[in-house]
């Protein structure tokens, strides 16, 4: 028990008890004050209690509350502290501290009366966040040690109660701060939700919309939120099935990212959207809510769509151009080769015609001359014999037959070549399918290609029995020419010393006429084998090939004749092209 003592050295026992009682009463009063009144008014009353108890003329409480506010209680009122700490200390002057109680003075409470000579100050309470100092001043006599100890004793005794009070205040402050923050967050999130330019929505586990922001009205072309809220989301989608697919995914994965969906606006127009959403789940993984953000990407899609469309149109136009070019090249090629061949054939045909005719006449005349010579010889006798012997006429007459036979053979061959040249192009056939002799076509083509082949390869033919097939002979011959010339050029590219070999085989395979053209050239690498029928694909050096030969060939055999054109090539070399043509002509859709 701490007793309050007077400033004198001798104390009366009764006075001591009275002082102790007063100390106890003051302490109890302060405890009651701080326990019952949690407001800051308690500080004001506490100042009064201490002022009365210690008979002070001036009293004040300086404190810092849980909100870190610096306050000052004096004369029953409370003020914020405007003076900085340094000025306070400066105004107080020198301080002497004993038993945790500071003595100073003379000093006056700023703004409250004149100076008092004797002041004491003690820390009434303190915690991490709060602190309170009481300041007491008087004019009559300095403060006794007993009074100082009483002040210390009061501070010591009320400390736990004030501590609880402060803790509670701190909790309230923290709670208040949290509430303020929550409220601000709520406002912020609400503003984010409402002011977003993208549609934000929530829906329940049945996908019924529970809330939307203002942007949803703009996006969906509705005027009131209740037109969306309370209705199934699928009602907004162009294809309800799209929403089903979305829901299946979000239920499985918990979220869906960048899902494109087409919404139908109130006026029936459609809008392309990009949605990202996730689920809120409760215990056991039960879906409580869907939360999604939907962005209007119509403009982007429109631009992309137009770009794709333009590209596709361009590609189509390009394809048509390519086909036209192929056709033109094909026609030109046919025209040039065919016309040349036909022209030559025509030019040769006439002189060969009268040569052959004259040859037949000469043969007839020679036969007549030989008969006449025999008759003359029988009639004239030795003179003729002498002439015959001198001019070796018996040998001349004996050679007549073989000379005329050889010449006849020569004429036949020329006529056949001329015929083949005319047959090769078959310009007169046009685009009609007519009966075509495959083996004859091969023979004609070999004559046209002879100059390309004869110095680089031998040609070995094994032509089987084939019926005449329905085809455009001139075009098939062009394919054969392409393949044969390619074979010769491939062999030539090897720059070998000995001649290569080109084998041609034909045979009937069911209803198909099968033509095989095989060479022993370098072969076709696997890496480009699938591309050899592509238009403009060529491995030949510039100027030697257009890259259209095989593409045109493919078109002729596959597209026009409903046939098949394939290639086989071995890594060690050699290439075989197989042409298969339906004997009866193309099926109704081909050509």
């Amino acid at each position: 028990m701490i007793e309050a003592r007077s400033g004198s050295s001798r104390e009366e026992p009764g006075r001591g008890i009275a002082q102790a009682t007063r100390l106890l009463e003051a302490t109890v009063e302060l405890c009651r004050l701080f326990a019952q009144d949690e407001s800051e008014k308690a500080n004001l009353e506490a100042v009064d209690v201490l002022k009365r108890f210690l008979a002070a003329e001036g009293a004040a409480l300086f404190y810092v509350n849980g909100r870190r506010e610096y306050r000052f209680c004096v004369a029953g009122a409370e003020f914020p502290i405007g003076l900085p700490e340094a000025r306070w200390k400066e105004s107080i002057g020198p301080v002497r501290e004993v038993h945790g109680v500071a003595r100073f003075g003379p000093w006056s409470l700023p703004g409250f009366g004149g100076p008092l000579p004797y002041w004491i100050s003690a820390e009434l309470y303190s915690s991490d966040s709060n602190v309170g100092y009481v300041l007491l001043g008087r004019s009559e006599g300095p403060w006794s040690e007993g009074e100082e100890l009483s002040l210390s004793s009061i501070a010591y005794t009320i400390a736990p109660i004030v501590g609880v009070r402060i803790e509670r205040e701190r909790e309230q402050f923290v709670r208040h701060q949290a509430e303020v923050l929550l409220s601000e967050n709520e406002k912020r999130l609400r503003a984010f939700f409402e002011d977003s330019r993208d549609m934000i929505y929530t829906a329940n586990s049945e996908d019924v919309v529970t809330s939307v922001n203002a942007a949803a009205l703009v996006l969906t072309g509705r005027s009131e939120k209740h037109e969306i809220v309370g209705h199934p989301f699928s009602g907004l989608a162009l294809n309800a099935a799209d929403r089903e697919f979305f829901l299946r995914r979000i239920r499985e994965e918990g979220y869906v990212e960048d899902y494109e969906i087409v919404l139908v606006r109130g006026d029936g127009t459609t809008v392309f959207c990009l949605e990202t959403a996730h689920t809120l789940r409760g215990p056991g993984g039960v879906i409580l809510e869907l939360q999604g953000i939907i962005k209007d990407i119509s403009e982007r899609i429109k631009n992309e769509g137009e770009l794709w469309k333009a590209n596709l149109e361009l590609a189509e136009a390009n394809l048509k151009l390519q086909q036209t070019q192929v056709l033109m090249v094909q026609h030109e090629k046919m025209a040039s080769i065919g016309q040349l061949a036909a022209g030559i054939a025509h030019e040769i045909n006439n002189p060969v015609g009268f040569l052959k005719s004259n040859h037949a006449i000469i043969e007839k005349y020679a036969s007549r001359l030989r008969l006449a010579w025999a008759e003359a010889r029988a009639a004239a006798g030795p003179v003729i014999d002498e002439i015959e012997s001198r001019m070796d006429l018996s040998y001349v007459f004996s050679e007549f037959d073989s000379i005329f036979a050889e010449s006849a053979e020569g004429f036949s061959r020329i006529m056949r070549i001329v015929g083949n040249l005319k047959n090769f192009s078959r310009i007169d056939q046009g685009t009609e399918f007519e009966l075509y002799d495959v083996n004859g076509g091969i023979e004609s083509t070999l004559i046209v290609a002879r100059n390309e082949i004869k110095y680089v390869a031998e040609v070995r033919q094994s032509l089987g029995e084939l019926p005449r097939i329905r085809a455009r002979g001139g075009e098939v011959n062009q394919v054969l020419l392409n393949i044969l010339v390619n074979a010769a050029q491939a062999i030539e590219s090897q720059k070998r010393t000995e001649k290569g070999l080109i084998e041609i085989e034909t045979r009937l395979a069911g209803d198909w006429a099968r033509i095989l053209v095989r060479d022993d050239g370098p072969g076709i690498p696997e890496s480009i084998r699938t591309r050899i029928f592509d238009p403009f694909f060529t491995t030949k050096e510039p100027g030697k090939g257009t890259g259209l030969g095989l593409s045109i060939s493919y078109d002729i055999i596959v597209t026009k004749h409903g046939g098949r054109l394939s290639v086989e090539s071995e890594p060690e070399g050699g290439t075989a092209f197989v042409i298969e043509l339906p004997v009866g002509g193309p099926p109704p859709l081909a050509g």
């Binding site: 099935a241 087409v262 992309e304 769509g305 596709l312 590609a315 390009n318």
Partner: protein, 123 residues
């Protein structure tokens, strides 16, 4: 990259929705997709289609079976468009087989359906 390699790589990253390929006697390629053709899947399918196109013989057909595709994004439609263009360059017929109504509807809405060769069934 060969089609088989591209296919193996694709199926490794899409085990739930693997792709399959079949070849006809003419060398045509049938590529069967499943799952969705969203942004991510489309970028994975692109090398597969590229490889199939390269492997498809010139003048052949690349048939893309979409019957098991549930969803297509604009990126997916874009992929089909670029494949169509690449196929035309190679004179390969690019055919879309059995397009589900939802996918068809998106392509139609984008005004691109008419550019494609569409077949209704494998036969």
């Amino acid at each position: 990259m060969l089609l088989e390699q591209a296919l193996a790589r694709y199926n490794e990253s899409h085990p739930q929705a693997p792709a399959e390929t079949k070849y006809s006697s003419r060398g045509d390629i049938l590529l069967e997709l499943s799952g969705d053709l969203g942004m991510k899947a489309s970028s994975d399918v692109a090398p597969l289609l590229e490889a199939a196109l390269l492997q498809c013989p010139g003048r052949g057909r690349l048939v893309l079976d979409l019957s098991r595709v549930g969803y297509i994004s604009s990126t997916g439609v874009g992929l089909l468009s670029t494949t169509m263009i690449a196929a035309e360059k190679r004179s390969v017929a690019f055919v879309l087989l059995d397009i589900p109504p939802r996918v068809k509807s998106i392509m139609d809405t984008l005004g691109l359906l008419s550019f494609f060769n569409v077949e209704e069934s494998r036969d």
